[in-house]
């Protein structure tokens, strides 16, 4: 990032005090965030509020990926619900099987209800193994993203086309899940999850543990994403966003650069979905279709898609506003949500985070961020 340099400094030597501040700004902010999330929040929040926060943090984990793929890579990822759902279903399938085993049943409760016979569907069986299920929460979304991304980016299918295709994928998965009532729980989804790897989820202490896991994962992924942003790859990703042709002429394959961002973002969304299940106790097609998939990008758009912290804070703020407003005034929330899209994307494309840049720009001409393609 551009640092402020006084006119007298023509060489690259920076004043020690400035460099000290700059050097510790990011780790300092990170430690402060970690302290707030892991230390302060569990102490001051009630069980109910902490559980809500856990849910928002799951959305924030998706936002880390959105910030990577959309903010840095210019890929409008409108199908994150697919990956969130795959991760969520993979986790929920294991937990349902574990719940059933605890009570001595061979099949999860909803399968007994819809009477599909005695046999577990073949594709459910491996999920009884916790290691396999955990791996699948991340690998399954990444595999789907890799498959779609490979075919789409290889043939240079353009921005808008990619957005519509990823949206269609979200619609198709949601419709497919609804259609398979007997094996996926249909519209209801997988509900009423009791345990989490041997811990009873009805116990508030265990809910706190789930919260702490989610917060830790979010912090870890944010740190990893930041390292990715400042790496050579991060620069390449921005270059692809701003001018794909130039990157191609320089000898890189933009398709691979985009594919990595898309697949990593998908993995993050899958992990978020997997953590969402123990926190909320349900995963259903209504949580992963077109509407929620577009919802996953609104927080990032409001907070600032190109700024990691902006995207995460924006997502938490929007989720919090939604749950406070939508219960009391559902109509007001819908209008506000619509307005947020229009104002944040139409008039403040950098989101709230860009206000900081705009203010800073008055002092020094900062470099302008490019347009998404």
């Amino acid at each position: 990032m551009t640092t402020t340099t006084s006119p007298t400094e023509t060489t690259s030597v920076v004043q020690p005090s400035v460099s000290l501040l700059e050097r510790f700004r990011v780790p300092g902010a990170f430690l402060l965030g970690a302290l707030l999330l892991l230390g302060v929040a569990p102490l001051v929040l009630s069980d109910f509020r902490l559980n809500l926060l856990a849910k928002y943090l799951c959305y924030a984990i998706v936002a880390v990926g959105v910030s990577l793929a959309w903010g840095r890579g210019g890929l409008m990822v409108l199908g994150q619900g697919v990956f969130f759902g795959l991760g969520g279903y993979a986790m929920a399938m294991h937990l349902k099987l574990a719940d059933a085993a605890d009570t001595g049943q061979r099949l999860p409760d909803f399968m007994q209800l819809y009477g599909t016979g005695d046999a577990l569907p073949w594709w459910w069986s491996p999920f009884a193994n916790p290691a396999f299920a955990l791996a699948m929460t991340v690998l399954l979304p990444m595999a789907v993203a890799a498959l779609l991304g490979f075919f789409v980016f290889r043939r240079r299918v353009k921005g808008a086309y990619f957005a519509i295709l990823s949206q269609a994928l979200a619609a198709a998965l949601a419709i497919w899940l609804v259609g398979q009532q007997a094996t996926t729980g249909g519209t209801n989804g997988l509900t009423d999850i009791q345990g989490f790897f041997g811990y009873d989820l009805n116990d508030p202490v265990n809910q706190r543990m789930v919260y702490l896991i989610i917060a830790a994962v979010l912090l870890l992924l944010m740190a990893a994403a930041r390292q990715l942003f400042v790496s050579r790859y991060g620069e390449l990703l921005i270059a692809v966003r701003d001018s794909e042709e130039r990157v191609r002429f320089l000898g890189y394959n933009p398709a691979n650069v985009k594919l990595v961002a898309y697949v990593v973002a998908a993995g993050m969304a899958g992990l978020a979905g997997a953590l969402f299940v123990p926190a909320v106790g349900i995963i259903s097609p209504a949580l992963i279709g077109i509407v929620p998939s577009i919802g996953f990008v609104i927080g990032a758009a409001v907070g600032g898609r190109a700024s990691l912290v902006g995207a995460v804070l924006g997502t938490i703020a929007v989720a919090w506003t939604q749950s406070t407003l939508s219960d009391a005034y559902p109509a007001a929330w819908t209008y506000l949500q619509g307005l947020l899209f229009v104002v944040a994307v139409g008039f403040l494309p950098g989101g709230l985070a860009s206000l900081v840049t705009v203010l800073r720009k008055r002092r020094t001409p900062a470099r302008t961020t490019g347009e998404t393609a």
């Binding site: 409008m76 409108l78 779609l148 075919f151 789409v152 290889r154 043939r155 240079r156 299918v157 353009k158 921005g159 808008a160 086309y161 957005a163 519509i164 295709l165 949206q167 269609a168 994928l169 619609a171 198709a172 998965l173 419709i175 497919w176 899940l177 609804v178 259609g179 398979q180 794909e244 042709e245 077109i290 509407v291 577009i294 990008v297 609104i298 758009a301 109509a331 819908t334 209008y335 949500q337 619509g338 307005l339 947020l340 899209f341 229009v342 994307v345 139409g346 494309p349 347009e371 998404t372 393609a373």
Partner: protein
Amino acid sequence: MTVILNQSFTGISIGAVLLLIALGLTLTFGQMGVINMAHGEFIMAGAYTTYVLQKSVSSAGVSLLVALPLAFLVAGAMGALLEWLLIRRLYTRPLDTLLVTWGVSLMLQQLARDIFGAPNVQTHAPDLLTGNISVAGVTLANNRLFILVLALLCVLALTLILRRTPLGRRVRAVVQNRDLAEVSGIATERVDRTTFFIGSGLAGVAGVALTLVGPIGPTMGTNYIVDAFLVVVVGGIAQLKGSVITAFALGVLQSVLEYSTTVSVAKVIVLVAIVAFLQWRPQGLYTLRTRSLA
């Protein structure tokens, strides 16, 4: 054999609905590059126009005939307003139009809920359109036939406007080279707004047609919008014939697959087929050749 013909007709009638919805998008998305997610809500506006009209005009047949031009005007005016308020600021970043118009669509849906209530409403079809006719053992529903004819008439009218009128020439000039059109004395901003008016108006007409086959509700547009976008993506930009062929092809494919599998599996297969198709023709079936690198 009869089964195949019946399924084909179902497919063609799905295709006709898709075509009617995709026609407006061919103009606004295909020609202008604007991803208008509120297109579905313009369809809804057309449908509610029919509903309101039927409250005051007792004869269903007359009300349907009046509804067609009226819905065109209502939806078209909404589209022109949207273009003037928001979209003209976003021509340089087409992807963002998707999110902005999605916001607009959320607000319009809520508006419809506040005005007409959340439950779906229904209109009466004219007597003439409620029956069936049988041709060689194939049962053709009259309302489906009407939609097919309406869709084809709209294609014809749009083709004539784009190919034969001064307005159409200006639209094509702006699409092919905006800067050159501008320096040639074409008021590109006005052309943009007119194009948007026509494209959105066609959504209104589609809305009238949809009242014949299903209920009218705040979320009725959302059900069709992604499918309609896929038609334009596969059909390719700037060519009406691409949309026509694709709409019918996807309709028949969907209907045949639904018959041999289930609705949900058919959707997934259609999507896979579309991605596979884009491997062969990434720019869609027909495309306008330009010298641009991207």
